[in-house]
Structures are given as structure tokens and as C-alpha cells.
């Protein structure tokens, strides 16, 4: 199964993805990092393994919000898509913030 998400070259959105199910993986340089909670379009998502969320991308511009925790607050968060075949597609890095969000546009 191929990965579907990509970075929006226009910069208006963080990511572009076709409508359908995606799994996003959040890791960090620090092993202390944990993805704690997430909502997609205001609906809470189940966090798996303290690092990933799966949701159905809806049409239009949508919002994924996350809460994350890490005692090492200088860490960098790596966002990737789980391609479902054992591989991951790196999307982007972000400076760690307890509360963060990603704008996702459907394609």
C-alpha cells in the first residue's frame, strides 16, 4: 500500500491527501516524546503506541490538532505517514510544542 500524503508546495496547507484513511506517525529526536491526544475535525482520535493516529481524510480543508508531551522541550518532532507496508514516508519536522496543529487539504 503506497503512501498518500504529501507536503503542500503552496504552503497554504501543511499536507495534502486524498479522501480516505491515513495513518500519521509522530516521533522525535528525544526518546521521551509521547503523542498524548489528537482530534481531527474536532473529533477525538485514538492514539496508538503513544505515536500514531489513524483517521479518514475528509474533503476540503481540515484540521488535525495534537497534544504531545516531552520533558526535553528542545526536541524536534518528525511527522511521517505510515504507508501500511512496513515503511513510512517522511513529511516534515516541527519544533516541539505541547499543542500543535496541521492543516490538511484534500486532493
Amino acid at each position: 500500500m503506497a503512501c498518500k500524503m504529501k507536503v503542500d508546495p503552496s504552503g497554504d496547507n501543511d499536507f495534502l491527501a486524498p479522501v480516505g484513511t491515513v495513518t500519521m506517525v509522530f516521533t522525535a529526536d528525544s526518546p521521551l516524546y509521547r503523542l498524548t491526544a489528537a482530534t481531527y475535525e474536532d473529533a477525538p482520535l485514538a492514539v496508538t503506541g503513544d505515536s500514531s493516529v489513524t483517521f479518514d481524510v475528509k474533503p476540503g480543508i481540515t484540521l488535525l490538532d495534537v497534544v504531545q508531551v516531552c520533558p526535553d522541550t528542545q526536541t524536534v518532532v518528525h511527522i511521517a505517514e505510515d504507508c501500511g507496508d512496513g515503511t513510512q514516508s517522511k513529511l516534515r519536522n516541527r519544533r516541539f510544542q505541547k499543542l500543535d496543529g496541521y492543516r490538511i487539504g484534500s486532493i
Partner: protein, 577 residues
């Protein structure tokens, strides 16, 4: 050898160039404090990575990645919200009160009472923490002193007090982990050196944390006053053990309205090494044990913030606004070479952009300001809850050092140096352990010349735990303490010129000290229950102590102590409403 010297000098010069060629970014507009890292990233990109400049500007303006910073800006910006001053202050108060509920209410490391050497103390053992702004205590009793007294004690946090006097918010609403100053390299001065500096910067960018003034926020000042009318009390002195010349009974001045002492405390925090393997293992276990708590806190804040900011983040007009400012900032930066001027320009344009975003939010949602206030409140609670959980494991121990100037009634003045620590060996929810070590010496050279400089040495231990309730909301705390003091010099009383020399009818030519009790150990056991009056900040401590002797009287003593303490943070928060 000469080659080695030249190499060393060259290395030093290179290091110096690298150290000099750095720019420190400190946001001038404190409403933009949450954007410090993003502004620094733009300046860093301009200086070192021009190909990343447009992306950095876009990230600075992307609301979804700066939601907390946007809330911080919104709550502090009085000009843009269109709210009245009262509404703004109410919002700030709500934010503070929720922080207070989550953090202040859960604190048990603050010391409100005077030290054990004061008349009118209920605490055999001092805690290592400081009040956030001001606290007051009125207490009756005595721990080591021979006569019970009533003492009023006022404690202040230096930073909180100065902020309050300067009409600034004494409880800054900010994320304690967010820096307000970031150091970035400046390639316009030395490209090679800055490449090295940049590499180091990636892990150590933050130079200053956002909440409170460094050093000042860790200094506490306490003053105490005796509250009794002057009188004397006749007490027996157990003549068998007394030093030669001591009378079998003595009239001791109990107290009168007077300044009885001052202390200055500095708190050293001792964070755990979060990069150590030990900490990583501990954190993994801790997070696993508390995963549900973390998730609940996260879901609670998202349930409020996502619906509030989501529509604005996704709005087409807001997106168009972002595109426009992205271009404008990029164009403006092309013509500015001075980093300070660039920073000023970015801040100015960012404020304009955020104001327009707030205006757009109000156009889209009629009660946008009320929603923002709810989001600010939720975020403040989130920060408090999250900080409490994380600090439980990241802060190993709090150490304090304290100097006490003591004026005990009817005794020579003393100075005391004390180190203390309050730790949570059983987890913050279960209670804390406080340890004190102290030494006291006489200030007067005439007294020390006669009896020796050192008066006593002390060691004490207290275990305290909450009774019932949860971390922040509980009805009472129970503590058990053991206190040991060794009287290196005899217990002394001061006699002024109106007294007669002991055993004579000869009036003293000048004030003098009289040894009243022998050197030796004082053992004290204390049991105390502190009733917490809901979330008012008021507490009532009841304590019972048993000691083998006091500092002046060689006889066992069982005494009761009572007081009322008040954490004045809430009073002042209400006053700003």
C-alpha cells in the same frame, strides 16, 4: 612547541569569533512572547539559510502551528479585542484562577510560618519552597523557645512583589517551557564560525525561560513581628543542671509589639538529568502509569481549542491574509540587513496580521471573544495540569538556603544559616519529606567573647501527606516531625541596665547576657494537622510538640500551637479584577 602555541591561539580566536557572531532574539512586544522561536527561525533563515526563508515566514504566520502563541497574544492584547478593561481583567483572572486551581492548590512545598527559633511558630521543620507572591501567617506557640508567643509573619516572592508594584502581572500567563530569548548565529560577520555556532544552537537555542525573572523568582523574603503586649512570666530553671550563678527562677520577658526577625531564602532547583538512561526508564514507567491522565488533559484542552480556532485556521479569507503578509514580510526583509531592524519589522507586521486575524474571527463567529476566553482558560488549565504531572518526575529535589536574623525576646540577637530540601519520595500526590540543617551564632561580639560564637546546630526532618481528596483539592495535611538541636553555648537571656547582677543587689553597669541553661541536646517531636479551607488560600495549622527541654529551661515541655496562614495570591488576583 611554538607550533602548538600558535594552534592554541588560533583555536581560541576561532572560538571567540564564533561566540561573538551570534544574535540574541528577545521579542520586544511581550504579547508576542509565544512567537519567539518562530521569529528566531525567520531571522536564522535570513542569516543562514535563505532558501528556507519563505517557509519560515509561512510557519510564523500559520495559525495551526502557533495556536498557544495566538491565545497568549489575544489575552494580552487589549487594543485588538475590543473588550473593556474589566472584561480583559476578568479573562486574566479566570486564566490565573484556573492555574491557581491546578498548580497553586496542589503545592505543599511553601513555607508560611516563621522558623523554629521564633516565638509563635508552629513549624519545627521549614519547607524549601517559596510563595508565588505574598503570604501572611499569625501563629501562637513556640518550638524551641521557653515561652509561647504570638507572631505575625509576612512572606513575599521578590519577583512577584516587584511585578505587582510595577503594575505588571505578578503571575505571568505563559508556558514555562517557552523561551522568550533565543540565540541565533549571524553569518554576516563570520561564515565559518557561524556554521559551528549553528550546529551547537540546534540543541541549546533556548537561553531564557518565559515565566518570571530569573534569580528574582527564586528569592523569598520573610519578616516577623511579635504581637504581644510586653509582660514577664516567672519560670523555674531546674537549678540542678544550670550553669553556675543561674537563678532558680527567672522573670522572662514574653514579648511586645516589635520586629522579631527577617529572613532571606534562595531556592535552588535540581532538575533530573532528562537525558540519562535512568531518567528515560523512569519516565517510560511514569508515562505508562499515568497515560490516562495525560490523555484526559490533552482531550480536554483540544475539545475547547479546536472548535474555537479551527474555523479561523481553515477560513479562506484568513488564508488569503496569510499569503499577503507572507509576501509583504518577505519583500520587506529583502531591504533590511540589520537583524534588530529585521526583528522589529517582523514584530510590527506580525501584530498587524494577528489583529486582522482576530477581527476576522469576530466576523465569522459572533461570540468569538468569549470563545477565546474559554480557550485561554482551557489552555491555562492544561499548562497547569501538564506542568504538575511533568514536574512530578522532572524535578528531583528543591534545595533552599536561608539566612535568618533573629531577635528573640529577652535574648541576644542571633544569625542562622539554614539549608533545606523538600522532596517527593512517594510521589507528589502522597506527600513530601522536608529536611533541614542549620547553625546559629550570636551576633554580638561581647556575647560571643564570653560564651563562644556558635549558639547551636540543628537537624530536623518532617514527613507530610495529604489526607483525602486529590492532588489539588483535599481537606487537610498531616505531618510528623523530629527536631534535634544541640546547644553549643548555654541558653542566654539578656539583662538590661535596670537589672541587678545575679545574686546581688548591684545594678548592672551595662546590658549583659546571663547563662541560664546548660549546653546539650534538645529533642522535639511534633505532630501537626493543617486544615485547608477549600480553595481560599487560608489554612489553619494545629500542632502538638513534646520536647526534653527548651533553649532556656531544662525541663520537659508539652505544648499546643495554633495559627492561621493565608496565601495572598488570590486576594491580589481579585483586587486586579
Amino acid at each position: 612547541m611554538r607550533t602548538l602555541r600558535i594552534f592554541a591561539l588560533f583555536s581560541l580566536a576561532l572560538l571567540a569569533a564564533g561566540a561573538v557572531a551570534q544574535t540574541t532574539v528577545t521579542v520586544q512586544d511581550q504579547n508576542l512572547a509565544g512567537f519567539t522561536n518562530s521569529i528566531a527561525a525567520v531571522l536564522d533563515a535570513k542569516a543562514n539559510h535563505p532558501e528556507q526563508l519563505d517557509g519560515a515566514i509561512n510557519d510564523l504566520l500559520a495559525l495551526q502551528g502557533n495556536q498557544a502563541a495566538f491565545l497568549q497574544f489575544a489575552v494580552k492584547s487589549q487594543t485588538v479585542q475590543g473588550l473593556t478593561a474589566n472584561q480583559i481583567n476578568l479573562a486574566k483572572k479566570v486564566a490565573h484562577d484556573t492555574l491557581g486551581a491546578a498548580v497553586e492548590q496542589s503545592r505543599t512545598d511553601e513555607q508560611f510560618s516563621p522558623g523554629s527559633g521564633f516565638a509563635g511558630s508552629t513549624s519545627a521543620v521549614a519547607k524549601a519552597g517559596l510563595t508565588s507572591l505574598l503570604s501572611a501567617a499569625i501563629e501562637s506557640g513556640a518550638i524551641t523557645q521557653a515561652i509561647n508567643g504570638n507572631t505575625a509573619t509576612f512572606s513575599a516572592n521578590a519577583d512577584g512583589l516587584l511585578r505587582f508594584i510595577a503594575d505588571a502581572n505578578p503571575f505571568p500567563f505563559c508556558d514555562p517551557d517557552e523561551p522568550t530569548t533565543v540565540t541565533i548565529p549571524d553569518t554576516t560577520k563570520n561564515a565559518d564560525a557561524n556554521t559551528k555556532a549553528d550546529a551547537g544552537k540546534k540543541t541549546t537555542a533556548a537561553k531564557k525561560r518565559g515565566c518570571g525573572t530569573p534569580i528574582l523568582r527564586d528569592i523569598g523574603i520573610t519578616t516577623s513581628f511579635d504581637m504581644q503586649q510586653g509582660s514577664t512570666k516567672t519560670v523555674a530553671t531546674s537549678p540542678a543542671d544550670n550553669p553556675p550563678g543561674a537563678p532558680s527562677s527567672v522573670n522572662i520577658l514574653t514579648a511586645k509589639n516589635r520586629f522579631s526577625g527577617v529572613s532571606v531564602k534562595y531556592v535552588f532547583r535540581n532538575p533530573q538529568d532528562i537525558r540519562s538512561k535512568t531518567f528515560q526508564d523512569k519516565w517510560t514507567q511514569y508515562y505508562s502509569d499515568n497515560r490516562q491522565k495525560f490523555q484526559d488533559i490533552g482531550n480536554t484542552v483540544l475539545a475547547v481549542i479546536s472548535p474555537t480556532l479551527g474555523p479561523l485556521i481553515k477560513d479562506a479569507e484568513a488564508t488569503q491574509l496569510r499569503r499577503q503578509f507572507r509576501l509583504d514580510i518577505g519583500d520587506s526583509l529583502k531591504n533590511i540587513n540589520d537583524p534588530n531592524a529585521a526583528e522589529a519589522m517582523i514584530e510590527k507586521m506580525l501584530v498587524q496580521y494577528l489583529e486582522k486575524l482576530l477581527q476576522r474571527g469576530r466576523q465569522m463567529t459572533p461570540n468569538f471573544d468569549q470563545q477565546l476566553n474559554s480557550a485561554v482558560t482551557a489552555y491555562a488549565r492544561f499548562l497547569g495540569d501538564m506542568s504538575t504531572l511533568v514536574k512530578e518526575i522532572t524535578t528531583k529535589t528543591v534545595f533552599s538556603a536561608e539566612y535568618n536574623f533573629q531577635r528573640p525576646v529577652g535574648q541576644p540577637e542571633t544569625s542562622q544559616f539554614k539549608i533545606m530540601s523538600t522532596l517527593n519520595p512517594f510521589g507528589a500526590e502522597k506527600g513530601n519529606l522536608s529536611v533541614n540543617l542549620a547553625g546559629t551564632f550570636y551576633n554580638s561580639s561581647s556575647v560571643s567573647g564570653q560564651f563562644g560564637r556558635w549558639r547551636d546546630a540543628q537537624a530536623s526532618l518532617q514527613l507530610e501527606r495529604k489526607i483525602g481528596g486529590n492532588m489539588a483539592d483535599y481537606p487537610a495535611r498531616l505531618s510528623l516531625a523530629g527536631y534535634f538541636q544541640y546547644m553549643i553555648s548555654p541558653g542566654l537571656i539578656s539583662l538590661d541596665q535596670s537589672n541587678f547582677a545575679p545574686g546581688t543587689n548591684i545594678q548592672l553597669p551595662q546590658a549583659a547576657a546571663l547563662a541560664l541553661s546548660p549546653t546539650g541536646p534538645i529533642w522535639i517531636a511534633e505532630a501537626k494537622i493543617t486544615i485547608k479551607l477549600k480553595s481560599t488560600g487560608a489554612e489553619i495549622p494545629f500542632a502538638v510538640t513534646r520536647s526534653n527541654r527548651t533553649d532556656l529551661i531544662q525541663a520537659t515541655s508539652v505544648r499546643g500551637h495554633v495559627g492561621i496562614t493565608y496565601d495572598l495570591d488570590k486576594l491580589f488576583a481579585a483586587a486586579t479584577k
